[in-house]
Amino acid sequence: MSSRPLDKTRDAMEGRTSETGFDHELYRLFPTHRPRPEGEVEELERIWDNPKGWGLLTVVNNNYIGFFYVATAFLFFLLAGILALGMRVQLAAPLQDFLPQETYNQFFTMHGTVMMFLFAVPMVEAIGIMLLPQMLAARDLPFPRLSAYAFWAYFVGGLCFFASIFVGLAPDGGWFMYPPLTSIAYSPEINTDFWLLGIGFIEISAIAGAIEIIVGVLRTRAPGMTLDRMPMFAWAMLVFAVMIVIAFPSVILGTLLLELERAFNWPFFDPTRGGDPLLWQHLFWFFGHPEVYIIFLPAAGLMSMMVATIARTELVGYRLNVLALVATGFISFGVWAHHMFATGMPRVSTGYFSAASMAVSLPAGIQVFCWIATLAAGKIRWSTPALFVVGSIVIFVMGGLTGVMVGMVPFDWQAHDTYFIVAHLHYVLLGGMVFPMFAAFYYWVGMTSTNALSERLGKWVFWLMFTGLHVTFLPMHLTGFMGMPRRVYTYLPDRGLDLLNLISTIGAFIIAAGVVVFLVDLARSFRFTTSDDAGNIYGGGTLEWLPTGMYSTRSIPLVKSREPLWDDPNICDDVAAGRYFLPNSATGLRETIITSPINAEPQYLQLMPGPSPWPVSAAVFTAAFFLALTVQAYAFSAFSGVVAVGCVLRWLWETDRPIKQDTADIGGGIVVPIAITGPSSHGWWALNTLIVVMGMIVFMGIFSYLYLYGINPSFWIAPPPLLQTGGIAALLLLALGSVWLSRRILASKPEKTFPGQGPWLMGAIGAALLCAAIWWDWTGWTAAGLEPDASGQGATVFALLSFQTCVVAVAVIMALYLGYRSGKGLLVAPASVTLDVVVRFIGYAALQGLAIALVVRLFPGA
């Protein structure tokens, strides 16, 4: 055994050493042999039972939320597809009047926006929420109410956003909404605000989902499922979620800045006042390109799993595939400016981004050849999913190759913004995401439906879509070469474009025919269920094919390999007979086992919240808040915002309660604690993920500030005096100190209930200090003569201060909530997650304030 940390990690991963001190010998107890007492399954069913009728709105279980989520995302796929058909009809011949110019411009903006933000990202996230708990054999994801909230916010917000097209108020600036076209001067109507609104919802639900998935994948895997044995989809979702956490803050900041510019005239993107339109492009594409991989990687994970089943052999190159997923995630953050080659970037920069764009195709190549090698190593069994999988490999490779082409700078100068790009991106997205999704529908439908889908109709669906795709998009490469720019509502006759466009339109209807056949198949065969499902139609080897109910599996298996169902023929019976972990409800409540992140050793039992009306209420009022803000009904907006916060607090109120027992037997006589605090707790992981999100927003904000200084320093004024900066820093350091003290008190009192008000009082003092610091920081800049609408400096500085103000406001609400709970005697040691989370959040807010104050006051200095 080596003492180097990397070796330790590897040894732990391979199961040679223990990660947490858990004795691996205990694994030998499973499967157990003693008969289980009667009534355990019935009790599980009772505990995990769902409300019926209108009560379904209060459901939080992943079986339901995941299904709602997938269905809603698919609805948006259909809606955005109908928009595409409308566009293709308009372009079938030159100078047609089918869609007037304004309508067409709204259609293509909505098509792109809805497909990217309301279909693709939510769809892969939805599939994750639906499949991951079963795949990891967890009872549910760790934050079911958060999932429910994210889903309902997306559902209500997404539908309202989409409805803007029916009243002619849909955004019309293209899905990447470049200012100044989208600034108030050129888009004075509220169309653009609707876009920002729609994106706002998907930002909320994507971040919430990412936190859920990171913590879920790392902490709720079945015991023994080391990282090295994790299903490839879980790996893909882990990388996906980490990428969301890094990439989405950039677009969150971008949309905030654009809205601030539109609402208050802060000139982030206005070059006449020291802003720069290209700042938006950097912020957007720093998110926008990883976004493509955010969509592709989960689909690739699904592919890897289906390929193994279709070929009836383990995936070839498992570790290479993991490496490819992680490498894609890394490299994808270094390619964003390849969307900006035509903006007049310096040659050195284009060279770098070109190289990175080439590099990112290597991991894609690895995955493709892993799939091909797997098909060669096994023996294919043809089925609808197999057709879609093989078809998607071909399509994706073709799209990837045109991607390599446009990664070459001189070629891109020609192809950029033409129909060649339209062809490229549709090949990549259809081959990389839509086809795998259809394969997955056929493959996994057995988990949620009493019947399988029809193999006969499935073949029709595939061939229609596959043919239609090439008929539609192959000619577009040529229309691009012939000089047809993208985003044109019409084109002139006599330019040779008529025939090719007509062919593309016909192709679009062939695709649509395929989708219609799929809908027919759904209507005929799909019947939602959580218990008597059609099961493992294609003979998959991973845990989601264990017998399940609402509670997921009866007992949580010990995982010894990557395809446990293939390697252990008895595992289904043993799991159903309760011969593994947690064969019952140890506490009489909803619960799941939290395991260690690398090695999946059991650590503690998490109690999970059940159905509640508060997440859906919070989501509805969050949606109302944003919608009212968009249509400038400020009073109603404020009211909804307050109610939404109230609903969130109400939903939290009943969580984190004292319980009668400290420990529980999770089977085989293994006793673990119930609910813990500190670095091992799932709440700690979730909060830290959120902190990364907020930190990234601030990082991108500071980037914007420095970027604008680099573009036009002549607008910059001197910062407030140094002494004041020191004072602000001192206040924030004091806040940090109070938080530290509060944690000390927490650590030093192992008793059940805290005597006195010490810990929360320290937190409250911290929050008060935060308020004082932000007030001083803000007024200091005002006194120094900085105005937010006067310059890029003013705009970015006050944007950062505004963000800090929001974070401080949240900290104050949390401190008050903590105080109220303390007063009610609900802060219970040693497991008060609430206290743990609140003081940590206040501590982070202090650090964030410190970073903002120091950077913008000290650089570039006087």
Binding site: G173, P277, V316, A376, I393, F411, G483
Partner: protein, 345 residues
């Protein structure tokens, strides 16, 4: 609609889009080398797709022995890492070298023009060695054959993009920035151009024409514009009488009526006509509109009929453009204006 007015035989269209695809049909050195690259990339795309499809075929239907070879990590290393690694590195080196050669410092003898993007047309200014404006025009760029031309790209409102595929790749026109693009035509001809960056509204109908002349013809063309009236009348020394009076002043008749109507109908508020009191800068400069090949920013051939149609009903031809339809004017009045504008060459 445009279709009823445009003349398929019109000579502006013969060199515009269509066949052969202009991206693959270079007319100058800055497009030439890219075409070689483009064909190489297309070839690579076809070959690699072929390889992958063949590999899939072997994996699914191939003989046992071949499948065994393909079915291991070694195949991934070769097919997924080594092969693309070599191909991509080669391409990258080529691409970087080509980028470098295309962005080399501009030759000394380069001509300079300034092209400014507006919603939804292009303003064109010809510059002399000192960077002063020699002549203003719109939606049309005349260049001499064989001489590099530096196009300074600006925008007055939103982001546009300047693209003449036969002559070079595209470059964006960004408010607050100046981008420079070098183009060169090696054979005389008319080359279509468009705005490639979505700029709202009728972006689809924002085009222009680049016309390459033999150097002597180009000089003659320029001289033809310059003799029509003094250059940049507004920059002349106050009090000095222009050497050459605008041609229109000497003609009289309908033309003067057209001129009067032009001034009285508000056209002058947006359009500039050199040597007259029309000094608007919002719309395209009309000092030489009679000599232009197209109207409405590259969408209509320029003749009296289309001119009348454009003035009277521009909103039907190019919905959303900034020029109102002058449908309150009678047919005779429209014709009078059209005739006068025809003479602004």
């Amino acid at each position: 609609m445009v279709s009823t007015m445009s003349n398929p035989a019109s000579d502006i269209f013969d060199a515009w889009w269509g066949w052969p695809p202009p991206v693959l049909d270079p007319a100058g050195p800055y497009a030439d080398s890219v075409v070689v690259l483009a064909w190489a990339l297309i070839g690579m795309g076809v070959v690699v797709t072929g390889i992958v499809v063949a590999a899939l075929y072997v994996a699914i239907k191939g003989p046992e022995r071949w499948r065994a070879r393909l079915g291991g990590e070694k195949a991934v290393w070769i097919g997924g890492i080594a092969f693309p690694g070599v191909v991509l590195t080669g391409l990258l080196v080529w691409g970087l070298t080509l980028t470098a050669s295309l962005t080399e410092p501009v030759p000394e003898d380069a001509m300079r023009v300034r092209v400014t993007g507006y919603m939804w047309w292009f303003g064109v200014e010809y510059l002399d060695e000192d960077g002063d404006v020699v002549m203003r025009d719109a939606n049309e760029l005349h260049v001499p054959v064989g001489r590099p031309v530096v196009v300074e790209l600006f925008s007055e409102d939103v982001i546009h993009s300047f693209w003449v595929p036969n002559l070079s790749g595209k470059e964006d026109m960004i408010p607050g920035r100046t981008n420079e693009l070098v183009i060169q035509a090696d054979s005389p001809g008319r080359y279509g151009g468009v705005c490639a960056e979505y700029c709202g509204g009728p972006h689809a109908l924002m085009g222009f024409v680049a016309v390459a002349h033999e150097p002597a013809d180009w000089n003659a063309w320029l001289a033809g514009r310059r003799t029509a009236r003094p250059v940049a009348a507004d920059q002349d020394v106050p009090g000095e009488v222009p050497a050459i009076l605008p041609a229109v002043e000497q003609t009289g008749g309908t033309n003067l009526a057209g001129r009067q109507l032009f001034m009285d109908s508000g056209c002058a508020a947006c359009h500039r006509v050199e040597g007259t009191e029309a000094n608007g800068l919002v719309g395209p400069d009309l000092s030489h509109v009679g000599s232009r090949l197209t109207l409405g920013a590259g969408i209509l051939p320029n003749n009296r009929g289309t001119m009348i149609g454009w003035i009277g009903n521009s909103q039907a031809i190019k919905p959303g453009n900034r020029m109102p339809s002058y449908d309150m004017l009678s047919a005779e009045e429209l014709e009078a204006i059209a005739i006068w504008l025809e003479q602004q060459r």
